[in-house]
Amino acid sequence: MEISDGSCSTASMSCTLGDLSQPDGSASLTHGNTQVAAAVYGPCEVRLSKEFPDRATIEVIHKPKVGLPRCEDKLRETLLRSIFETAALTALHPRSSIQIIIQEIEDQGGLLATSINAACLALLDASISMKFLVAAVTAKVKHDGSVLLLPQEGSTEKDSLGIITFVFREPDKSVVCSFTSVGTLSLQQRNQCLSLCQEACDTVFKFYRECLENKFSKIK
C-alpha cells in the first residue's frame, strides 16, 4: 500500500487445498480481495478429436462470475493453456486429458495472476507431475509513473497507465508468459515492472511450499 522508493508490498494470500470433494485436485485462492476457485480433473479420458498420441491434452475452462463465458474468458483460457502445456509433464500421460476449471468468485484486480496461481496450486493438489512451478504476479504503473503490485486495496483501473502480468517459473525465474491486460507501457516501465515482479514471485513460490507443507502435515 505504501510506496517508498523501490519497495512495494504484496497483498495477503490465503488458500484452501482440497476444498471440493469431486475433483482430483482443487484450490481456492484469495489474494487481497480477489478470489478464485480452481479444480483439476485428470489424467482422465479424452475426447477423440482432442487426443494426442504422445502427450496429454490440457483443457482449460474459465468461468466468469456473472453470465455466460465471453471472448475475454477464451483469451484467458488460451494463456493459461499455453503455460500449463509446458509446465505439466504431459508426456507422462499420453492419450488422456487434464482438465483445469477456473471459477472467478471475486475480481478486485489481478484476476489473471490469481487464476494462474490457483490453477498451479490445484495441479499440485491433484499430484500432476510438473516440470516446474509457475507463479504469476501483476504490476500496475500509475499515471505518475509509480509502480505497485496488484491486487491492492482501493486501486482502480482508471488511474493506471498500464497493468501487466508476468508469469515466472522456478528456479531460474525466467518469464514463461506475460500479458498487458490494461493500457500500454514503455520499455523502461515494463522492465521496471519485470524486476519488481521477479522479486515478488519469491513470496508466491514460498507460499506454495507452505500450502503443501500444511496439507501434508495434517495427513496421517
Partner: protein, 274 residues
C-alpha cells in the same frame, strides 16, 4: 524427395534450413513476408483495407451505424470488432459459430483498441446521451497462412485510418437527424498500433512472422504491438528458453516493424489522394 522429407520430419527439415540462417521459403529469420496493403477497396463500407502478408490475407471493413449510447458511457460511441475465420480460409476451420481462435483474435483486437485508446470514443458522440456512432469492424480471413495477428492488426489500423464518417446535423426543434452523405469527416486516430509476432523454434530460435507451418512447429509465440514508445505484449513463450536479450530483440524488431507499417499505410493512403 524434399517434399517427402518435409512431410515426414517437418522439424528436422526446418532445422536443416535454420542452421544456415534461412527459412524454407527463402526468408531470413528476422524477415517479414512481403506485405501488400490495399486501402479503400470496399466502397460500401465507411473504411476498408485488404492486407496480404505472404499468403495470409485479411479483409477489414468498418461499418458505421447510429445508435443509442450505453447507459454507463452516455458521451462515448463504441466499437465492435469481430474476427471471422470462415471455413474457406483453411481446412482446420469448420463452418458454424466462431471457434476458439476466432474468439481469441476478436478479443485481442478489442484489447488492442482499448489499451492503446486508438479511437477517441468521445469523437464518436453525436448527441450526448442520445446518439452516438457505433463502428462495426469486421475482419474476415480469406487465406490462412500463419501470423493472423499481425495481418489483422495492420488491416484494422489501416481501415480505421481510412474511415470517413458522414457528417450529421440534428435539428434542435424537431429532433430530426440529417445525414450529409456528400460531406465526410475522417476519423482521427490517436494511435496507430502495429504488431510483430515471433514464433519460437526449438525453444531458442526466434522466427519473425511465422507461416502456419512454422506456427504449428513452434514451442511458443511472442506478440508485441507497439506505437511509438508504448508496448502491448502477449508473450506465450511457455517453457522456451529465450533470453532477455532475445526478448529485447523482439521489442526492437517490433519498433522497426511499426515504422515500416506506418510508412506503408501512409504511402498507400497518399497514393489514393493523388
Amino acid at each position: 524427395m524434399a517434399d517427402a522429407f518435409r512431410c515426414a520430419l517437418p522439424k528436422e527439415y526446418y532445422r536443416q534450413f535454420i542452421e544456415r540462417d534461412v527459412r524454407p521459403d527463402g526468408r531470413e529469420l528476422g524477415e517479414f513476408r512481403p506485405t501488400v496493403l490495399n486501402i479503400g477497396s470496399i466502397s460500401t463500407a465507411e473504411g476498408s483495407a485488404i492486407v496480404k502478408l505472404g499468403n495470409t490475407s485479411v479483409i477489414c471493413g468498418v461499418k458505421a451505424e447510429l445508435a443509442e449510447p450505453k447507459a454507463e458511457t452516455p458521451q462515448e460511441g463504441y466499437l465492435v470488432p469481430n474476427v471471422e475465420l470462415s471455413a474457406l480460409c483453411s481446412s482446420q476451420f469448420r463452418p458454424g459459430p466462431p471457434g476458439e481462435q476466432a474468439q481469441v483474435l476478436s478479443q485481442l483486437m478489442v484489447n488492442i483498441i482499448k489499451n492503446f485508446h486508438s479511437v477517441p470514443l468521445e469523437d464518436l458522440c453525436v448527441v450526448a446521451g442520445k446518439l452516438v456512432w457505433v463502428l462495426y469492424i469486421d475482419l474476415i480471413c480469406l487465406d490462412y497462412g500463419g501470423n493472423l495477428i499481425d495481418a489483422c492488426v495492420l488491416a484494422l489500423t489501416a481501415a480505421l485510418k481510412n474511415t470517413a464518417l458522414p457528417s450529421i446535423s440534428v435539428e434542435e426543434e424537431t429532433q430530426k437527424i440529417n445525414a450529409d452523405i456528400t460531406k465526410h469527416n475522417m476519423l482521427q486516430l490517436a494511435c496507430t498500433p502495429i504488431s510483430a509476432s515471433f514464433a519460437i523454434f526449438d525453444n531458442t530460435i526466434l522466427l519473425v512472422d511465422p507461416t502456419s507451418e512454422e506456427e504449428a512447429l513452434s514451442t511458443g509465440t511472442v506478440t508485441v504491438v507497439t506505437d511509438g514508445e508504448k508496448i502491448f505484449e502477449m508473450d506465450k513463450s511457455g517453457g522456451s528458453q529465450i533470453t532477455s536479450e532475445q526478448r529485447q530483440m523482439c521489442f526492437r524488431r517490433a519498433f522497426q516493424r511499426h515504422r515500416e507499417g506506418i510508412k506503408l499505410i501512409e504511402d498507400t493512403m497518399s497514393s489514393v489522394d493523388r
